[in-house]
């Protein structure tokens, strides 16, 4: 049976492995034909910055991997609008299209889920 999964990403992309683990989880859920959405909160919105050249520090660019999610039918991507603004980012400069939500929007999204996984 298909359930609604929400993966909550709250860490920046390269300082730890949380971001990659979250992506792996999203892909695993999609492979089992679950309905998956990703929500980027706090420093997690930093994963969405465009044109990451992670080769410079010997890693794979996370923005490109996130960009592949629609190929696996994961296209529900949400970001905390306040977190983007506080970090000097806007949804127009991001690596991939996300829906920016305010606090009420985030609360509504959370209440719709069957399973919420935090990273």
């Amino acid at each position: 049976m298909s359930k609604r999964f929400l993966i909550v990403c709250r860490q920046p992309p390269y300082g730890s492995s949380f971001a990659r683990e979250a992506l792996d989880m999203a892909l695993a859920c999609a492979a089992f034909e679950q309905r998956v959405a990703l929500l980027f909160l706090g420093d997690g919105v930093l994963q969405l910055a465009g044109a990451q050249q992670a080769e410079a520090i010997g890693q794979k660019p996370l923005d490109k991997q996130l960009g592949a999610l629609p190929l696996y039918d994961v296209d529900a991507l949400y970001a905390d609008a306040d977190a983007l603004a506080a970090r000097g980012l806007s949804d127009t400069t991001l690596a991939l299209p996300v829906q920016a939500l305010d606090g009420a929007g985030i609360r509504a999204l959370l209440t719709e889920q069957d399973i919420v996984l935090g990273f």
């Binding site: 420093d43 050249q53 000097g88």
Partner: protein
């Protein structure tokens, strides 16, 4: 004195604690997730009174921040980082 900061200023207090005790002629090098403090317009961007700020260019590029760098933050390559470390006998790491 040279300070390095390697945590995002939004999720951690490392940068704030560093800036609080910095002398005017100190140097702060933002490395790893510390470079997120260097985005123009971000709410934790150090003010005009802050000491000289550098951001490690490899970490800036890796995180896609080159187009967003604030004025007043100088990019530093690895060779420049080593040079700065040699010039400053006392180094404090904030992490």
């Amino acid at each position: 004195m040279l300070h390095t900061v390697n945590k995002s200023p939004h999720g951690h207090s490392a940068l704030a604690e560093c800036l609080r005790v910095c002398a005017a002629d100190d140097v702060v090098v933002l490395i790893e997730d510390g470079v997120y403090a260097a985005i123009a317009g971000n709410s934790r961007l150090p003010g005009p009174d802050a000491p000289k700020l550098y951001a490690l260019s490899a970490d800036v590029a890796a995180r896609g921040l080159a187009p967003h760098l604030a004025e007043g933050v100088a990019l530093l390559d690895y060779a420049g980082f080593v040079q700065l470390c040699c010039e400053h006998p006392v180094i404090q790491s904030w992490y």
